[in-house]
Symmetry: C2
Subunit: 130 residues, 2 copies
Amino acid sequence: MAMTAQRRNTKQKEAIRAAFQEADRPLSPEEALLLAQKQVDGVSIATIYRNIAALLETKWLTAVQIPGASTRYEVAGKAHHHHFQCVTCGATHELEGCEIKERPKLPRGFKYGGHEFFVYGTCASCAKKR
Amino acid sequence: MAMTAQRRNTKQKEAIRAAFQEADRPLSPEEALLLAQKQVDGVSIATIYRNIAALLETKWLTAVQIPGASTRYEVAGKAHHHHFQCVTCGATHELEGCEIKERPKLPRGFKYGGHEFFVYGTCASCAKKR
DNA sequence: ATCGTTGCAAACTCTTTGCAGGATT
DNA sequence: AATCCTGCAAAGAGTTTGCAACGAT
């Protein structure tokens, strides 16, 4: 994939950036599509993927890999933090800070590279509905 | 998906169970296929998926969702533990125990359901090779 | 002999890519 | 005007399913 970062401003691209900026949580491509389509109609999913790729390249976005769900993306530059996933609606939310202080013990010969931590449960709006 | 758990013994099924039992780590469907094919040739990937589904249903296997990688499966019944993923070869390994003692602070109204913890790095055999 | 299980191929879902027309600089 | 960007549709990768033949009971 030798795509160069896009540089022209289009209404699609602005809608996509706005979607990520206004959502206060990581978005899947599908979620970004729905939000962007509220501002510009006819946005295609291909454009979402292409712009996400471009925004990753310029490090405006970062990928958030979720176990058992498609990759989410969030605006880059935040402090080290982890994520919460609602088991009811599937939305991903940010958690503040990181409570993992010590490096876990690894088997002999393994080298530590980093960690990820996820919390599952029910988000406030889903908890309210039942 | 209304598949009922399979009950007949076939050489394919035995090879698949043996693959999971002998591997000392969670396997992806592709890894299970390669291991099963060493015992029975011509095993198809569809059979792997169908047997994994059946073994999940009978709770002989459990799914291990990995961020950014396809789902792995491991023999069920182990104590609560977490996983390590090698950034070089992609293999998943088990870690012993769980060092997360306290529940993380969640936003107002959120309900805690559980957690997952992953460590990334280089496994012993990949570390040795360089 | 019955009917569960398999391999093959087609179907599906999610993501990526080629292309021609449209938009931005 | 040049060429970047978009939408559409086709192409890929991973997973699931229909079907006829095979094989376990």
